[in-house]
Symmetry: D2
Subunit: 297 residues, 4 copies
C-alpha cells in the first residue's frame, strides 16, 4: 500500500480514533475540527493539525468527512467551505458520516459535476470498533471509487462492503440499524414476557439462541442484566450505542422509507418504543436499555 | 435405554412422523386418531392401531398427545376421554401440542391431583424436522418429569430444553415464535426498503448477515425469492411454516402476554402484519411470504 | 310497563347501582353476591337478598348477570350453579357482563338448547352512568329477545342498541372500546407532539375539534391536565375508566380478532401502549393517563 | 375590507380555486405558475397572469404561496427567485403550502431578517373546500401577522385558527392529520372486525357514533361502502383525499416528531398501514380506502 496524504474533517468520538488508525497505518493525516481538545488528541496521535478545513484539504489525495448530519457534510463540501471547489480532481472524497441517502446522492452528483469521485461509507461498530480498527464500512459509489477507498478504509476497519451505487452505503446502514432496533426491542419484549411467566432469562435466552428466535441482539448483546458479561446491560446500560443515536438512525430510516415509498411498520413500531424510552429520560443509556421500558414496576 | 410402551394420540402432519420415529427407536407405540388414513400410515410404519384413545392408553408407560389446541388436549385428558382417570400413576404424560400456557398449567395440576407426572413439551422444527427426528422440544415440568421425558423426546428430536416449571415449555415456545415473527417481518421490511432503493437483496443480505442486523430469518430462511436456494421463498412460498400457523402462535403469544400482563408492542405489530397478509388470502403460504405484503405492485 | 320479578347476580361497582335502578323502577329485585357489604347496600336500596344464586333465580321472570369474566358467567349459568337448569323456560336471561363473544355465543346456545331466551348486553358508561341510569347497552340476540330486554334495560340506561344476533353485543363493545383506545392514545400523542413544539394544548385541542381530527376523547375526555374541567386528567387521573379495565377490554378485542381472523394492527398498537403504561405501575389510573407515557421527563 | 394587490404563486388543484375566490372577493390577483393550462383557468376566473413569480410580486400588498413542498417555497422566497429580496417590507407573505415546520420557521426568520412579516397557513378541507371557499386555515406567526392575514384567508375559508408562533400552523396541521390517519385506520379496522363477526356496518357505525368510539371518520367519512351517501367509499374511493397525500402528511408528522423528540407510536402504526396500502397500488384512491387493506379476500 502507498502512503497517502489524507485530509480528515470531524474528530468526534468516532472520528478521533479513526484518524489515529490512519496515522498508525503510515498515512500523512491532516486534521481539522472545531474542538481544540479533539485536535490536540489527534496531534498527540501523530496527525497534523490544520487551521481550517480548507488548509487540511490542500493537496490531499483522500478527503474523509466524519460529521453528525447531512447538513454539515453539505456545508463542508458544497455550500460553506465548499471544498469540492478546492480539492484536486484526483482527490477521492469518502464521507463516513451517517446521513440520509438523499443527501449522499446529491453530494455524489455535486462531486461528479466537478470530475471528483465520491463514496458514502458509513460505519458500524461503535467507539470500541473505531479504537480497535475493527469497524464495518458500508460503501456506496462506483466500482472504481470503491476500489480506491477500500485500502484506506481497511486501515480503520475489518469488513468493507460494496453496497451499490451512490447512496447505497447509507441505505444499507439504515436498513441494518432499523433491523437491529426491531430485533433488540423484540428480544427485550420476549425475554420480559418469559421473566413475567417465571422463566429464567438465561435459560430462555439459551433456548431461543438454539431455535428460530436467534438474532444478533440475543447472541451478542443480551438486554437483560446478568445474562451476559461484558455487555452494557450488565453495566447499568452504560457505554455501547446510545438511545439518542438509535433514535437518530431510526429517523434516517423513516426518511429512506418516505423517499422510496417503502412501508416500514415494524421499524416504525420500534421507533415508537425507542422514542418513548428516550422521552422518559434515557437518551444517554445504551440502546439495550429499552428492556427497562418493558419491566414491571 | 429401555423399551417403553407408549400411547400416542394425535397423528397429524407432525404427530405421524413423530410416532414413526418412536417405533424406529424400538418402542411399542399404540396410536389413536380420528383419521383412518393417518392411522394406516402409522401402522405401516410399525405402530399398533388402537380402537380408541382409552384403549391406546391401557398399560402405557408413557402417554403422548399431539393435538391442535388446548381444548382438545383437555378433552382427551380430563373432560372427555378423561384418560388421566384411566392411566396408571406411573405413566408419564407428555403433551407435545402447542397450546396456551394457562391450559398447560391446569393440565399439570389435574395430573398432579391424581399423582401423575405431566410435562408440556411443544416442538419446533416443522414437518421436515418431525420426519428427520431433528425437532427441538421446549419442556415445562419438574426436574424429575424432565428427566423421564428426555430419553423419549430424544428419539424424535435433537435439542431438548428444560425451560422451567409447568407451562414453561409453552411460554418458551410462545416467546420464541413471537420473536421469530418479529425478525421475519423486520427482515422482509428491511430487504424491501433496500430493493426499493436499488440495492441487490443478495448483497444487502450478505452485509446485514455480517453486521448487527443478523438473525435466523436472514440467515436460514431469506424471504426474498432467489437469494437462497432450498428455502420456501425460492419455491413460491410453498412448504415450510404456514401463515395460518404463525397467526395461531401469535394468538397464543397474545394470550400469554394478557395472562402475565406483559406488554408486547413488537409482537402485536408483527401479528397485525401476518393477520393482514392472512386476510388477503395467503393463509396456506409459508410465513416468509409476508415479504409479498410489502412489495410494490 | 309491568312489574317483573328479577334475579340479579353480581353486585360490583357497576352491578350495585344497576340493581338499585331496577328497584327504583318498581321491579322486585332478588340479589345475590359473595360480598356481604355489597349485598347490604343493595338491600338498603330496596332489593331482597337471596342466600344463593339459585334462590335468587327461583320464579324469576328476568335473570341478570353482571360478572367479571366469561368463566364466571358460564359457571353460574351452566357448569356450576347451572341456573339454566333451574329457571323457567319463560325467564329471559340478560348477561350484562363484558365477556368474550365466543362465550356469549356458547351461552346463548346452551340457553336455546333448554328453550330459554338469552341476550348478551354489555354496557358502557362507567360507574357514573350506572348510578345515573344513563348507561348504553349493546345487545346481541334475537329480535324477540331484544324486544323483551329493552324495557328492562331502559330502567338502567339511555341508549339501548340492538347490535345483531347472539354475541353481537359483545362484538360491538369490543369494537367500540378498541376504537376508543386507539383515538385516546392517538389524541394523547398528537397533543404531546404539539406541546413539545410549543403549542398550547387548549388551542391545539380547539383547532382539532373543529377539524378532521375530532373524536370523542378530544371532545369529552381531554387527556391533558387543565384543558377541560371535570375530566379525570384534571383530577390526577383519578376516577373514570381504569387502565386495568381498558387492558382487559383490549384483550377481549384481541380474542375477537383472533376468532374472526380480523387484522387489528391499530388496536394492537394501542394495546401495546396501554400495557406498557400498566406495567409501569399505572393500572388503577384513568385510561386517559396514557398521556403520561408520552410526556418528556 | 379593503381591496389588496395579491401575488399568488402556485395554481395546483388547491391554489387555482383559492386564487379564484380572492378575485371573487374583489382583490386584484396576480398569478404565476409553470402550467399554462392552470394559468389560463385562473385568468378566466379574473386573475392577471404574470410572466414570472418576480413580476407577480411587484408592488404586492400580500404574497401567497401554495406549493408542493418546503424546497419549492424556499426556492421561490429565498434561494431561487428570492422574492423576499424583491417585495416591499410592508408586503405580508402567507405560505398556504403544507410543508415541514422546520422550513416554515426558517422562512419566517429569513423574512424577519428583511423586516418582512411571514405566516405559515396550511389548509385543510380539500379541493371541494377550496372551490366552495370553506377551507380551514391553521396559522403560525405573530399576533400582528395573524391579524393581517385573517381577512385575506377569510375570502378562501371559514375557520381561521391562530395556532401559535412561526411554524405552529404546520405543527397543528401535522398533529391533526396524523390524528385523522389514526382514527380513520382505527375506524376501518373496528368496522371490518364487526363485519367479520356478522354485524351490519350501518348498525355498528350507529352504535359507535352514539358511544365513546365516535370520531370524525366515522361521522363524516365512513370508510365502508354503502354506509353513507356522498362519501368517497360509496363512490369506489374516487375523489376526496388521496392516499399519496396522506402518506406525504404522515411523513411530515414523522419529521415533526423527530425534530421535537416526540414519540408517535400510533401515528407510526397508521403510517405503516397507509404506506402498505400505497405500495399495493392504491396511491390515487381516497384515504378511506385503507378499509380495503383489511378486507378478507
Amino acid at each position: 500500500m502507498n502512503m497517502s496524504k489524507i485530509a480528515f474533517v470531524g474528530l468526534g468520538n468516532m472520528g478521533g480514533p479513526m484518524a489515529a488508525n490512519l496515522v498508525r497505518a503510515g498515512h500523512e493525516v491532516y486534521v481539522f475540527y472545531l474542538s481544540e481538545a479533539a485536535l490536540k488528541q489527534a496531534v498527540d496521535a501523530g496527525a497534523i493539525a490544520a487551521p481550517s478545513a480548507k488548509e487540511a484539504a490542500k493537496g490531499a489525495d483522500i478527503m474523509i468527512t466524519m460529521l453528525p448530519a447531512g447538513i454539515q457534510v453539505t456545508s463542508v463540501l458544497v455550500t460553506g467551505d465548499a471544498l469540492l471547489d478546492e480539492i484536486a480532481k484526483s482527490c477521492l472524497v469518502i464521507d463516513c458520516s451517517t446521513i440520509d441517502a438523499g443527501s449522499a446522492r446529491e453530494l455524489s452528483k455535486a462531486a461528479a459535476d466537478r470530475g471528483i469521485e465520491f463514496v458514502d461509507a458509513p460505519v458500524s461498530g461503535g467507539t470500541a470498533g473505531a479504537a480497535a480498527g475493527t469497524l464495518a464500512f458500508m460503501v456506496g459509489g462506483s466500482t472504481d471509487g470503491f476500489a480506491k477507498a477500500q485500502p484506506i478504509l481497511a486501515c480503520m476497519g475489518k469488513n468493507i462492503f460494496h453496497a451499490g451505487d451512490a447512496g447505497a452505503g447509507q441505505v444499507a446502514k439504515a436498513c441494518n440499524n432499523m433491523l437491529l432496533a426491531i430485533h433488540m426491542a423484540g428480544t427485550a419484549e420476549a425475554l420480559n414476557m418469559g421473566v413475567n411467566n417465571g422463566l429464567d432469562p438465561k435459560v430462555l435466552s439459551e433456548i431461543m439462541l438454539n431455535s428460530s428466535g436467534r438474532n444478533w441482539s440475543l447472541e451478542m448483546y443480551n438486554p437483560v442484566p446478568g445474562v451476559q458479561k461484558a455487555v452494557p446491560s450488565s453495566n447499568d446500560y452504560q457505554g455501547g450505542f446510545m438511545i439518542d443515536l438509535m433514535c437518530k438512525d431510526l429517523g434516517l430510516a423513516m426518511d429512506a422509507s418516505q423517499a422510496s415509498r417503502s412501508p416500514v411498520p415494524m421499524g416504525s413500531a420500534a421507533r415508537g418504543l425507542f422514542n418513548l424510552h428516550q422521552s422518559q429520560g434515557n437518551g444517554v443509556l445504551d440502546f439495550s436499555s429499552v428492556y427497562k421500558l418493558y419491566q414491571k414496576r
